[in-house]
Structure formats: structure tokens, C-alpha cells
């Protein structure tokens, strides 16, 4: 099945899966931080792999990203991505919640470890919900963290979809956390393996 043959109805079904995943991810993040977390209505989009950097912002925007890969009946890849300063704010919120204060001298490795765990919880919650919905089992990788330019991070989509064509199917949504004095938001991006889309549509009975 070619990506361009996907009907609006099928894309809507995939978006609904994203909705269920995001709902669970928002709940988990809210519990972890003890704060209100809002979510956007997710989008299931067919994106040209030649325009990835521009599609999600400016290619040189400095971002922090947590990446996990899920294996099983529905193999897919997820990225939790925030602008660098917002990632810093999110880590501060977590440390405040868990430790009562943010130690200014905390080494970067510890902060990175906190970010990695935050991303892991958000993305695992997302995956748990959708696999529960589909009745599939899955195994999630250890999270990988990167701080870099948005364009270089999104090259990972190219390596997943580039060999088979020019278009990638991406589900994306935002989580908004109300902070002490500012609002911060992070994007959850789901990139299903190309070969897994039929499994997904079959499970949803919209194939």
C-alpha cells in the first residue's frame, strides 16, 4: 500500500490513535510534575522528506530531543522534542517537584538524565496506550538524548522513510505544561515504520 493512497478516513483513524497516546502521555507528565498539562489535537500528516526541517520550524532551531524505538507487532519510533530553553525549564520543574529545589551547580549529565527519564515516561505512556488499544505487545528501547539543530535531528525520519519514497507519515502533537511563570510546550512525534502501517490500519479495522 502506497502512502499517497491513504484515505482521509484512514488518516483520521491514525490521528485518533495519536490522540489516545497523547492523552495518556499528558496524564503521566501531569502526575510526574503535579501540574496541569494540556494537549493539542494531534495531526496525522504526510510530509515530504525534502521539507522536514522547514515543516516543523527553522532547521537551525536549537532543540533537545529524546528518542525511543518500539519493537513488536507495530514497530515505530517516537521523539519528544522541545526548544532547548524549554527543555531546561521542564527539567527545573521536575527537580523542583522531586527534590524541593533546583541546585544551580547540578552537572549537565544529571540534568540530561532527568530529561531522558521525562521523555521516557512521556513516550512510554504514549506507546502503552496505543498498544493496549490495538491489543499488541511491544518492547521499548532505552531512550537516546540529543541537543542539536532541529534539521539534523529530523534527519532520522529520512533514514526511516527515505529508501522507500519521498513521503513520511508522521503523527505530531503538543503537550503544554503550565510552569511557575511561563508556559512551555513539547512536541511528541510518532514515526511508524513504513511496513507497520498496514498492521495498524488492520487492527483499527480501516484497512
Amino acid at each position: 500500500m502506497e502512502l499517497r493512497d491513504f484515505s482521509t478516513f484512514q488518516l483520521d483513524a491514525i490521528r485518533e490513535v495519536g490522540n489516545i497516546g497523547t492523552g495518556n502521555a499528558a496524564t503521566a507528565l501531569s502526575k510526574l510534575l503535579d501540574r496541569t498539562v494540556d494537549m493539542d489535537v494531534p495531526k496525522a500528516e504526510l510530509v515530504s522528506i525534502y521539507e522536514l526541517g522547514e515543516h516543523y520550524g527553522s532547521p537551525e532551531t536549537v532543540v533537545a530531543a529524546v528518542f525511543v524505538r518500539s519493537e513488536g507487532e507495530f514497530p515505530c519510533n517516537l521523539i519528544f522534542i522541545l526548544e532547548e530553553h524549554e527543555a531546561g525549564m521542564l527539567v527545573d520543574l521536575l527537580l523542583l517537584q522531586q527534590m524541593g529545589s533546583v541546585m544551580p551547580e547540578l552537572p549537565d549529565e544529571i540534568r540530561d538524565s532527568a530529561l531522558s527519564e521525562l521523555g521516557n515516561i512521556v513516550l512510554s505512556s504514549f506507546l502503552n496506550a496505543i498498544n493496549l488499544l490495538m491489543g499488541t505487545t511491544h518492547m521499548i528501547s532505552v531512550p537516546g538524548v540529543a541537543h542539536d539543530m532541529l534539521g539534523s535531528i529530523l534527519d532520522v525520519v529520512v533514514s526511516i522513510y527515505g529508501q522507500m519514497g519521498d513521503t513520511a507519515l508522521i503523527v505530531n502533537t503538543s503537550l503544554m505544561v503550565s510552569g511557575a511563570d511561563a508556559q512551555l510546550s513539547g512536541k511528541v512525534i510518532m514515526i511508524p515504520d513504513p511496513g507497520s502501517l498496514e498492521t495498524l490500519l488492520g487492527k483499527l479495522r480501516v484497512l
Binding site: 539543530m149 535531528i153 529508501q163
Partner: protein, 164 residues
Amino acid sequence: MDAAHHVGMADIIVITAPATLVTLGLGSCIGLVLFDTIGKVAGMAHIMLPESHCSAGAQVDKPGKFADTAVPALINEVCKQGALRSRLKAKMAGGAQMFALAGTQSEFLAVGARNIKETTEMLRKHSISLVASDTGGNRGRSVEFSTVTWMLAVKTLGKGKVDI
């Protein structure tokens, strides 16, 4: 300020001096420059993947996308603009692995290394000497090639700008 030409994903763009070629946010992709300082011509390809032959579609409509098709196509384009094949030299940057997952051997995460290998191999096959490169690692790069200095400026987060 010379005219800056933006080289998007899978693009091949050729310029004549004085001008610059720019690509922002290379991750596993590669920015390959071929240039002829006497003919005053330079071209850049934004290579995304190593090989075209395992691609589903039979014909490649964007030769810049794959290392094995980008190198011959780029040679062709710069020579059309007045470069002499025997004078061509190459510089390249990119091919990083942005994420590493402990305990998993995910082939797609290491596509940068395969891009470097295939591009280097193709240059060797076409007898073009690679005079400078900044490849691999786990950091993204923005690159800018000047046909005034014939230098490739490589910008990495935290490391600043280095001319190669």
C-alpha cells in the same frame, strides 16, 4: 556579501564565483562540494542516503538524494558550468549519528556512517581527491562553502565555526 544559495535536501546546486553555497542542519545527511578553483565553479549536493539500488522506485528522479547517484550527477553539473574534470577537488561534511540507543542495533540510526563510506567510495571511483572532510560523530552541522576562499565553513553547536 556574495549571493548565498541554499542547498535543500537532495538538491544539487552549482555556482560560479563569487557566491556561496549553504546547507543548514545536516544530521546523518552529507554536504558534498566539488570545485575547480581555476574554472571558478563549485557545486554542492545534499546527500540523504547511501544507495539508490534498493529503492522501491526504479528510476531516481532526484539524483542528489543518494551518494551513488549524486556523485556522478554533481560531476556532470559542475563540468557543464565550465569546471574541468581533472581539476575537480572535493570537500565534505556531515554523516553524524544523532541518537545512540544502548543495547539496540538499529541499522537506520547508523545511516550517517554508511553515507560517509559510500560517498568516499564514489569519489575514489571517479578519481576525485577528497581534500578536506569533517564527518561522523554525533553532532549536527551547518555548512557554507565560499568560492572566494574555497573553504568549507562547518558550524557545530558548542564547537563554533571551523574552516576546512
